[in-house]
């Protein structure tokens, strides 16, 4: 068990290291000189050199990478003497555009992204699992085929198309919802809810469709297992057979996928946040892309990768806790 944990953590560290390296190579080696960008227009060669020295760009690649890595864990200092700027760990550098620390920018936006992700996740999990169960119980009947049609549609509609269509329908034409604008929860919970409703729906629909199919397939497959037949042969009622012998094995794999989907969503819903003007991490990334603000893009990428990798590990551990075949090795 401990061995398994150690293995997972070691694997995670390796992946994260590679992600850092990969990201670093792309942004600091392949892309145009950041110093020129920081300096802006009307820049002298001396000024550029000064900035290069401050950012450490004049040093060899591995040194730069090492400074970057240690910055993540221990913080780093930019420049020297009076100009020195202390950047506390985890240091992701400074935005070229606003000169704010990237870490602060991300932390500020985290609550919005988290709200979007949690709401959407609750929605798609409820809708997906429910629809999947209904589908499985009514296999082959009208309800099943109707849900199948819905899921195909849900899977196929690009979320920005859906976002625009929903806004056009609910806000412009029907005027059921206000135009999206940020309202803190404490000020007006109803407005807050209305504001987040569309992003939640948009994000949830595609995933809900996938979860519906997954649930349906798993439940139908589990019901054909021999142990379900054994449970019925024991004379257990349909309630017990379903609850104990069908649902638990059928829904366990969903935990795996849910953890990963949720983690990747936490790292920012780029398109949805942009379309609805929500100031989350996704929007931050999208904005930085248009402004070519590399430290920010890099920070967001690293955060997203970190979340996915950690999510992955949490799922593995959860799975171990749920499935006795993994938890307890076979004895003799």
């Amino acid at each position: 068990m401990i061995r398994f944990l150690l293995n997972r953590v070691a694997g995670m560290v390796v992946v994260l290291f590679l992600v850092c390296l990969f990201t670093f190579v792309i942004f600091f080696v392949l892309s145009p000189d950041p110093a020129v960008q920081v300096c802006g227009k009307n820049c002298t060669t001396e000024a550029i050199d000064q900035i290069r020295a401050n950012l450490g760009l004049d040093r060899p690649f591995w040194t730069q990478f090492w400074t970057f890595l240690s910055g993540l864990f221990a913080g780093r200092t930019y420049g020297t003497g009076a100009n020195a700027v202390e950047c506390a760990a985890p240091c992701l550098g400074y935005s070229f555009q606003s000169s704010q620390p990237v870490t602060d920018m991300i932390v500020q936006r985290l609550p919005v992204s988290a709200t979007v992700a949690i709401g959407a996740a609750v929605l798609w999990l409820l809708a997906g699992v429910t629809a999947g169960l209904v589908s499985a119980v009514r296999e082959g009947r009208f309800a099943d085929r109707f849900i199948a049609g819905l899921t195909l549609t849900g899977m196929s509609i690009p979320n920005y198309v859906l976002a625009l269509a929903l806004q056009f329908l609910l806000v412009v034409t029907l005027r059921w919802l206000p135009f999206p604008h940020a309202v803190p929860f404490g000020e007006d919970p109803v407005q807050w809810f209305m504001n987040f409703l569309m992003p939640w729906i948009v994000l949830a629909i595609g995933a809900a469709a996938v979860y519906t199919r997954l649930t349906r397939a798993n439940v139908i497959e589990t019901l054909q297992e021999n142990y379900v037949r054994t449970a019925r042969a024991k004379g257990l009622g349909p309630g017990l057979v379903w609850r104990r012998h069908a649902l638990r094995p059928a829904l366990t794999p969903i935990v795996t996928i849910f953890g990963m989907d949720f983690a990747s969503l936490l790292g920012g819903a780029l398109i949805t946040e942009t379309v609805f003007g929500l100031n989350g991490i996704g929007k931050l990334a999208a904005d930085s892309i248009t402004k070519n603000d590399q430290p920010v893009i890099m920070g967001v990428t690293l955060l997203a990768a970190f979340l996915v990798v950690v999510g992955n590990m949490v799922v593995d551990l959860l799975y171990t806790a749920i499935d006795p075949r993994v938890r307890v090795g076979s004895a003799t």
């Binding site: 297992e225 021999n226 142990y227 037949r229 054994t230 449970a231 019925r232 042969a233 024991k234 004379g235 257990l236 009622g237 017990l240 104990r244 012998h245 638990r248 094995p249 366990t252 499935d323 006795p324 075949r325 307890v328 076979s330 004895a331 003799t332």
Partner: protein
């Protein structure tokens, strides 16, 4: 003592196919006395497993059942699902072929033995059910039952898993045990142990046994009456001694000739008429 425990008449099981209903069991008659043992023998596709599922009322979706199944004076085909559930597990218990896939990997064997007991005996506490589970496991000679009761199916060997399955049926003291190829997945030495165990239990509890198998040698050691099936039809039935000493149907004779013996002459094995080799 020759009171009838099970009396099946004209049992037919059909599945809908593209060309009308396909009958996998055709007008089958079976009789089993209280405490007796009946062997149903047949090759693959003979409908022997479907027969057992039909008696249990556990046919797969889409299958239809007709005919009469009278168990200890009760007509099972007339029972509602709820009443049938009270019979299943409590009065008729079943042991399946593959013990690994027949046990739920997510629960300890103790839980799985106890839940049957709890389902049929109202007001049983968890602790009582657990004690019953341990007792049942001890009865099938699983050593250290008090500890093993908390283990999961994958922690047992094949033979031990089948013992767990049998313990599960035992906890209810059923009047009839149906064992569907209980030893097919097991090694020959383990098979011998499981067959001994079944015999021991029958002697102790007086339960009736229906043994479904493709193995004539196995059935000859266990059953006092035998039914031979082929393609859903009943070919021949009678006492074990009669079937083995004086088989009347050509199919039964062929089957008996085809079995390789460990203690008989060595020579060309007889096969189905017309298909014999050179």
């Amino acid at each position: 003592m020759s009171e009838a425990l099970l009396r099946v008449r004209g049992l037919t099981v059909a599945f809908p196919t593209a060309s009308g209903p396909g009958e996998v069991v055709k007008a089958l008659d079976l009789d089993l006395d209280r405490g007796g043992s009946l062997g149903i023998v047949g090759e693959s596709g003979s409908g022997k497993s479907m027969t057992s599922l039909a008696i249990m009322g556990l046919l797969p979706k889409g299958a239809t059942r007709s005919g009469s199944i009278e168990f200890a004076g009760t007509e099972l085909t007339a029972l509602r699902e709820r009443a049938m559930r009270a019979v299943r597990g409590d009065r008729i218990a079943m042991v399946f072929q593959d013990p690994l896939s027949s046990l739920n990997p997510y629960y300890t064997v103790g839980t799985q033995i106890a839940e049957a007991y709890q389902a049929h005996r109202r007001g049983v506490t968890r602790r009582q059910a657990r004690r019953v589970a341990i007792a049942a496991m001890e009865r099938v000679h699983i050593e250290d039952a008090a500890r093993r009761v908390d283990h999961y199916p994958h922690q047992f060997s094949g033979g031990m898993r089948q013992r767990v399955m049998i313990a599960m049926t035992l906890s209810m003291e059923p009047e009839l045990i149906i064992a569907d190829e209980p030893t097919t997945a097991l090694d020959v030495t383990v098979q011998a142990q499981i067959l001994d165990l079944l015999a021991e239990i029958r002697a102790d509890t007086g339960a009736g046994l229906i043994l479904i198998t493709h193995d004539l040698a196995v059935v000859s050691e266990v059953a006092d009456r035998i039914v031979v099936m082929r393609d859903g039809d009943l070919v021949e039935s009678g006492t074990a001694e009669r079937i083995f000493t004086d088989p009347r149907e050509p199919y039964t004779r062929m089957l008996l000739e085809a079995v390789p013996r460990i203690d008989d002459e060595i020579g060309l094995l007889r096969t189905t008429a017309g298909e014999a080799e050179s």
